[in-house]
Amino acid sequence: MTAPLIERSSALRQLRRLGKAMTTPLLPDDYLALINPLWSQRELRGRVEKVVPETENAATLVIRPGWGWTFDHAPGQYIGIGVEIDGRFHWRSYSLSSVPLVEGKTVSITVKAMPEGFLSDHLVNGLEPGTIVRLASPQGDFTVPDPPPEKMLFLVGGSGITPVMSILRTLDRRGSIPDAVLVYSARNEDDMMFVHELRVLALRYTNFTFYERFTDADGMLTADQLDDVCPDWSDRTTWACGPAGMLDAFTQHYETYGLSDQIHVERFTLAAAGGSAAGGEVTFGVGGPTVDVDGATTLLEAGEKAGVNMLFGCRMGICHTCDVPLASGRVRDLRSGDEHGEPGEYIQTCVSVAAGDCTLSL
């Protein structure tokens, strides 16, 4: 674990405290960021150093994080990235494809442009090197313990390769990949990210098997075909990441065999509620109380009924006292009918209702 410079020396920490007393109510960072946008710990920031194309519609963003970033993520975790488009910050989460503590003090995420995803498209095709982005610390428990289990299986579809790539690269750096099988489905060879690197990896490690599946030609991999590509799958600890349909099929398969404990799943797309969804299960604070709320009760009223101490002001959408960040899910603004569903986005609970299940950060 490498703490940022400013945290490492107690003299610097003292200096920062002194600076804080002089810049109150701001932080010294607010002034320093005027000189270099990365010199601020207020919000994690990063500068896009390179955009490396992986396939026709996927690219790896190499990002140099600013102050406050600790290069201690576990391989397989994801980060949040906030990009400003037309004055507004949009947030998405992507798995880190880089190994922890890389040379050059950068991290990388690999993004695949989705047809309907306007942010992913912007990241792949519109982001200029040098752009300053916001970052959210690594999260997620789709990780491999150290030391890893003796026998592993990775079931991957499409861009689900990114967290697995981070895991494999980390194992490679340590110089040993245990008995591992990677089953990776993509539409065709051009669409398969990191395919050359993976093939080389398979050549270098005899106990690493790379099974390539091209769904345009061979169709989707079904759960009962698992026996064909990895006969001893039930002996292996499995990490699965990919489209929701694929993950549902495989988790069901493991359940049928009573092996639910053996599969770790990472879902990229949250069950996106349809545009007309009204109401849902609302969780007040991660790990907080969860209540069923209809599509007419505001989140503020629902929270108050559930005994949550919700801040409020005008209760008509003017004063913003009630604003809280949305952790996940979608809400609808009663005044405009607009839906909001970006993680980290501030919503006004007094005029918002649930549009499907959602979680508020309190």
Partner: protein, 395 residues
């Protein structure tokens, strides 16, 4: 007594009132839909300018032993503080920039360079004042609990000292603001929750401590032997800011033409009527672009009260539409040069230091109802009525 009895609105039918409301809603929607890069650039530029002014002021004051440097540093610091309080703090805490989804310029995170904690300001100003604008007994901004600003307020001999209280309030405005959300009136009546009072006092104490440490200890100490010069410079910068903000804020609701209401007008008030009350209760002043920026665009007080959470840089354009709407419906739109608006405010303060029978004008919205006592149980706890509107507006 209902809202439609307010003299300025008696010519409007219910349908016309609703039509005005719908037009104003439309203006809001247009602005909301068109917020973008240019607005973000504006606020970022302003923030950069403010921080540079502040830094330049502090640095210049290292030479505070040299009188011209003292003067320049004080002026720079004073301007920085004015810009910070008005265009940045006031407007950011209204949520005008929340749409950017940027936690660094967000109403829930912003703390400003003055003695009142942001959280309390958001309650006393954002909620109480903007919700109950100019309603006697509800809106504590009418005279800040110190001045008699409406003929409908009962006269007391103590009001004779108003010109003096006002001068003191102007000089030490930030302290008046700091104590504002405590609700001195409620404390006096013994209605204040002691737990809340304790919490608020602690918050204020914390903030005051940090602010004073910065302006009156740290920076003066940094200049070593010129401690006193830097201290007086910082003190003066704060006073300049206080006088300016007091002036701008008083010009928002007390020039001739801005009307005060009583709780009767609140009864069954619709959203459209709320808009009308905001328009009639507020007053603008005209001036150049720089004046508007330095006053946090509060020269567009009417527009600000209609749309307190729309970006301040849009008020100038919004005002053209609002003025046009007022002309079409024959609704007063109070504005004038700053000196005139300020003069009228001072005149009202002077006049109302005397009992009503000694003076005239400063009319009440509905004829003669002066000297009533307001019911204490009518203080702002109107939660459910307000919640209703958010639903109504969605249809």
């Amino acid at each position: 007594m209902a809202f439609s009895d307010v003299r300025e609105y008696t010519h409007l039918t219910d349908e016309e009132v609703e039509a005005i409301g719908a037009e104003l809603d439309e203006i809001r929607r247009e602005v909301e839909a068109s917020r973008g890069q240019a607005d973000r650039d504006y606020i970022l530029r302003t923030i950069t300018l403010q921080r540079r002014l502040a830094a330049a002021g502090r640095i210049t004051l290292f030479a505070s032993f040299f009188p011209p440097a003292w003067l320049l540093g004080t002026a720079l610091l004073g301007s920085a503080k004015i810009l910070e309080n008005m265009e940045l703090g006031h407007n950011a805490m209204h949520g005008q920039w929340d749409w950017m989804n940027d936690p660094e310029i967000h109403s829930s995170n912003w703390e400003w360079d003055t003695t009142q904690p942001a959280e309390q300001w958001k309650h006393s100003h954002n909620y109480i004042h903007h919700q109950f604008t100019n309603v006697l007994g509800h809106d504590n901004d009418i005279g800040y609990g110190i001045l008699r600003m409406s003929r409908d307020q009962k006269w007391h001999p103590v009001n004779l000292g108003q010109p003096v209280y006002n001068a003191l309030l102007a000089l030490f405005f930030e302290w008046g603001v700091a104590l504002h959300d405590l609700d001195i009136e409620a404390i006096r009546k013994g209605e204040k929750d002691p737990e809340l009072l304790k919490k608020q006092l602690k918050q204020i104490g914390n903030k005051v401590g940090k602010q004073s440490l910065k302006d009156y200890v740290m920076y003066p100490a940094l200049t070593g032997p010129f401690f006193l010069q830097t201290l007086t410079a910082n003190f003066t910068a704060n006073i300049i800011r206080n006088i300016w903000t007091h002036g701008i804020i008083f010009c928002g609701h007390f020039p001739d033409g801005a009307v005060h209401f009583t709780e009767e007008e609140l009864e069954d008030e619709t959203r459209a009527e709320w808009y009308l009350r905001q328009m009639l209760g507020s007053a603008n002043f005209n001036g150049g672009k720089l004046l508007h920026i330095m006053s946090g665009q509060l020269g567009y007080q009417i527009e600000h009260h209609l749309f307190p959470d729309l970006p301040s840089n849009r008020y100038a354009a919004i005002s053209v539409k609002v003025k046009d709407l007022c002309a079409r419906y024959d609704i007063p739109y109070t504005t004038g040069p700053l000196y005139k608006q300020y003069g009228q405010t001072l005149r009202t303060i002077l006049k109302l230091s005397l009992p009503n029978r000694r003076t005239s004008d400063n009319p009440a919205p509905v004829p003669e109802r002066a000297q009533r006592r307001l019911r204490d149980d009518q203080r702002p706890t109107r939660r459910s009525e307000l919640g209703k509107w958010s639903g109504a507006a969605s249809v």
